[in-house]
């Protein structure tokens, strides 16, 4: 989805969002006040510059607009696959971006993310998946990697993976599967401005994704394993 159309629908009262090197930054007027907007577009691979530019904007928001909610708009094909980015320590740049989001949260900023097009792997872990809650549009694509590449690496035939992807949320791309596993809070249909307003009002109570994954039937074990260890039990609750 074109980000101009998207931000128009999210902020009918107006917004000032700009694109520079496929990084989006700016602010929009929501019912309860201004919302900072940061993200990427054009399925851009997240390289060191892309990560650093988003981090800079988030830090600027923390400094200049204390408490202003932050909306992260996700559209990326994943981390940039270049020798040069690895040499420069792309994992450090990505971690820095994630830490900036965490710092903003701990400084009192509500963090909402929306996957409006593509979300892949490393580019997603330090953006959308760092939010208090991550939402998605119905047509969004979310995955770790494509099935052909996954077949090559796991040595499981692609036909078998394709078959599994039909009803197994672990393999299939798409927001419904991430919803079932707790990685996506909700899929936004209908009025996006209303959906954003509701998300901004929602109380955040830490990372509840494993509990959501259990309740929704997408991840049967994660939450029970965590609970058993926290409780000091050697067996999982049924």
């Amino acid at each position: 989805m074109d980000w101009h159309i998207l931000t128009g629908a999210l902020f009918p009262q107006g917004c000032d969002v700009r694109e520079e090197h496929q990084v989006l930054t700016g602010a929009g007027q929501a019912g309860a006040g201004m919302v900072a907007v940061v993200g990427t577009t054009g399925h851009v691979p997240i390289g060191v510059e892309t990560a650093l530019a988003q981090a800079r904007f988030i830090l600027q928001t923390v400094r200049e607009h204390p408490g202003r909610p932050i909306l992260i708009l996700v559209d990326t094909q994943g981390q940039r696959l270049r020798h040069r980015d690895e040499m420069l320590g792309i994992n450090s740049y990505m971690a820095h971006l994630g830490k900036c989001v965490e710092l903003a949260r701990r400084s009192g900023h509500r963090i909402v993310a929306l996957v409006y097009d593509q979300a892949l792997s490393g580019g997603f872990i330090t953006s959308g998946l760092m939010a208090d809650a991550c939402y998605a549009l119905p047509d969004a694509t979310i995955r770790v990697m494509g099935l052909p590449a996954m077949a090559r690496i796991t040595k499981v035939p692609e036909e078998r993976l394709t078959e599994l992807a039909l009803d197994n949320p672990v393999f299939a791309p798409g927001p419904e599967n991430y919803l079932r596993m707790g990685g996506i809070q909700e899929i936004w249909r209908g009025d996006l401005a209303v959906a954003l307003e509701t998300a901004l009002q929602r109380e955040s109570s830490g990372d509840t994704r494993s509990a959501l994954g259990l309740a929704r039937g997408g991840r049967a074990l994660a939450d029970r394993v965590i609970a058993a260890i926290v409780a000091g039990e050697d067996v999982l609750a049924p």
Binding site: A55, E86, G89, S92, G122, I153, V156, Y178, L221
Partner: protein, 296 residues
């Protein structure tokens, strides 16, 4: 046998921690295995490739995790990730002196793709929660499989990283980059280039790892112990994050155009970069002290 590289995860725990002090959470006898591997006819492990628990390090209470590179390259699946998260959350209740993560992993376990990705994200959040609770988190990287993918990001969310020169820390593996962008972009078979790009010495020069040690379990033990007290900003602070922003910005300005790690070392001021790969860890640390970039 004292090599960290060659030891299994459980051997590392046995020799790094005070003898007999490791008490495992959800041990292999609990037989909690991956719910996803069976349908792919892949083997399962009763610990899902990671041991987590509490132990003593020179008498001090530590919580610890060790990933087993011998099982699916240490990759993070649903149960593996949940064990890490469970240990980290329990640490917040029990308040140990530190949390040690012995990382050896390729990142997300592709056999459990989507569940693995969310799991790594949960680990990342949990590490930052432990730090916010005032408990230092240290990463140890020295296994044969390195520390890659999302776990390479998690490592850089800890307070400090201890690496051996044989350890590797990065995001995408050389094979992945070669497959995606061609052999002229990154020749994964050029072991020296792989080492110069992802190895402990390069990370130490850039300031991405705080301590470089020889490939010896007792060296990792001593370094981990020293780091527990050396860590100053346990929780994230705006000051520290702004320093990191400045450091990473400067790094990009100075070296963004450089094509080859050895050129980068020369640009740092190292007079004989060709000699660096040959130096033992201690001699290397001494020699590069003047050029090494600030670590945070």
């Amino acid at each position: 046998m004292n090599s960290y590289l060659e030891a299994t995860a459980r051997e590392r725990l046995q020799r790094l921690l005070d003898p007999g002090s490791f008490q495992e959470f959800l041990p292999p006898s609990s037989r909690v295995v991956s719910p996803h591997l069976g349908q792919l006819n892949a083997p399962v492990a009763f610990d899902d490739g990671v041991a987590v628990g509490r132990a003593r390090l020179d008498g001090r209470l530590v919580f610890v995790a060790a990933q087993e590179g011998g099982f699916m390259g240490g990759a993070v699946g649903e149960v593996h990730g949940a064990k890490l998260v469970g240990m980290l959350r329990r640490a917040i209740h029990d308040r140990p002196d530190a949390v040690l993560l012995l990382l050896e992993t390729g990142g997300v376990r592709l056999h459990e793709a989507n569940a693995g990705l969310i799991a790594v994200s949960e680990v990342m959040r949990a590490v930052l929660d432990v730090r916010a609770a005032g408990i230092p988190v240290l990463a140890l990287v020295g296994g044969a499989n390195g520390c890659f993918g999302g776990m390479g990001i998690v490592a850089r969310c800890t307070n400090a990283i201890v690496m051996s020169e044989e350890g590797r820390l990065a995001m995408s593996g050389p094979e992945v980059i070669e497959t995606a962008s061609g052999v002229e972009e990154f020749d994964a078979r050029d072991r020296a280039l792989v080492w110069r790009t992802t190895g402990g010495k390069h990370r130490y020069l850039l300031g991405d790892c705080q301590v470089l040690v020889a490939d010896a379990i007792n060296a990792f033990r001593a370094a981990a112990l020293a780091q527990i007290d050396a860590v100053t900003d346990v929780a994230l602070t705006l000051d520290a994050i702004e320093q990191e922003q400045a450091l990473l910005t400067t790094r990009l300005e100075r070296f963004g155009h450089v094509r080859e790690p050895m050129e980068l070392w020369r640009a740092l001021g190292v007079t004989e970069p060709e000699a660096l790969p040959l130096l033992e860890a201690d001699a290397f640390v001494e020699q590069v002290a003047a050029w090494r970039l600030g670590a945070h």
